[in-house]
Symmetry: C2
Subunit: 226 residues, 2 copies
Amino acid sequence: MPQETIGTSEERSPLSKERVLRGAIALADEKGLAALTMRSLAQELGAKPMSLYHYVANKDEMLDGVVDLVFSEIELPSSAGDWRVEIRRRADSARQALQRHPWATALMESRTAPGPATLRHHDAILGTLRSAGFSVKMAAHAYALLDAYVYGSALQEAALPFSGPDTVAIVAEPIVQLFAEGEYPHLMEIATEHVLKPGYDFGDEFEFGLNLILDALAAALPADQA
Amino acid sequence: MPQETIGTSEERSPLSKERVLRGAIALADEKGLAALTMRSLAQELGAKPMSLYHYVANKDEMLDGVVDLVFSEIELPSSAGDWRVEIRRRADSARQALQRHPWATALMESRTAPGPATLRHHDAILGTLRSAGFSVKMAAHAYALLDAYVYGSALQEAALPFSGPDTVAIVAEPIVQLFAEGEYPHLMEIATEHVLKPGYDFGDEFEFGLNLILDALAAALPADQA
DNA sequence: CGTATTTTCGTACATTGTACGATACTCTTT
DNA sequence: AAAGAGTATCGTACAATGTACGAAAATACG
């Protein structure tokens, strides 16, 4: 049966690096990072495994590209306008991107080779800080601080067994029972009196920390400019 | 030649979960996380691969145990004494632990099941904050903030292609040349005027951020207590 | 001793990344 | 249209990995 161009709705749009990387992201989003294998990705794209290697040198390099693509989803801050607004916007945007792709945080660690989107991203933030009046040194400090916080929060959130407001209780209840023995009293306290309360949202923790950092940086700005 | 109890200095101390986990850490420290395979670990321990499975259910559970062991290396803060001193001590200690085991940061992401050392650790920090006078809610905020910062910094540091003061220049110089084209002007500026300066140490960035956060939390404490 | 339990291991298999070379396809030049 | 050159796809095969399964060896205990 050598006919094949009939109605098989298998879309065989031609491959490309772009399509490979986007397919990888989609697969990781859908089935998790562990399910992202060259074989399954090829199948998803309607191709055979070895075909991918025409667009990526190897899996590691592909993951580098994937990370850079995720970075490109993050809104860049502008150097004009209020720096606090701009920095906050990109922080929220980064958090959202890493929420959409929770596996990405893990990836960013192992990859040491930043791609163009990553570099552009870093450059934009530094530009915003410099335009706001921070000295070179202070901009570096602020940048390291903000970045550590954003990625650290993403790490925390990815490790949480729940996501979104009010979904906590379902998962947490049995866990709380486990150490009701009184071995971790303060964890208990936080859990029952804060996290398990209806309406709890991890996003609030994020906003609190971000505000605190921005306020403190704003307070340090005048002295730095002098 | 069926003799074997002679002088072969292969130490065949009996296996144990402890020995397996510590061996795993040692191997990851030495050869990197990718080199940590059940086979190589078994060899390191003078055993055969399948023997390990009497002490760990599978590799994933082993990694959970490894992460918990790394956590146990971090100094716990005390609830007595100045909270800022205590929190700082544990932050520095955590950074050091994650510097000793740079691969651990990546692991912490994927594992969702915290071990006893991890729980004890979290509990101790919350205890210190509560003793300092923070409200439940504020303690949760402060804790999330501090933790995100510490792990985020570890993530950054692990991604850096250098480590320790003054080792930057060697690696960074050629990179800087690469985008000397002027595409990333602010990165250039930071690089040449700050990071590449002799005496640069990433640890200084860490301390700056930690101080800023602690100061801001201290400032928020009185209002929170009221 | 023997017997029961624990600890160690040998073999085997499925899954992964990917090296290597062959095939199919596309485009230019005649 | 034919031929040739390049490009994109793929088939086959191999080494490395986690680990299921059950056998063997070591140990503990009556």
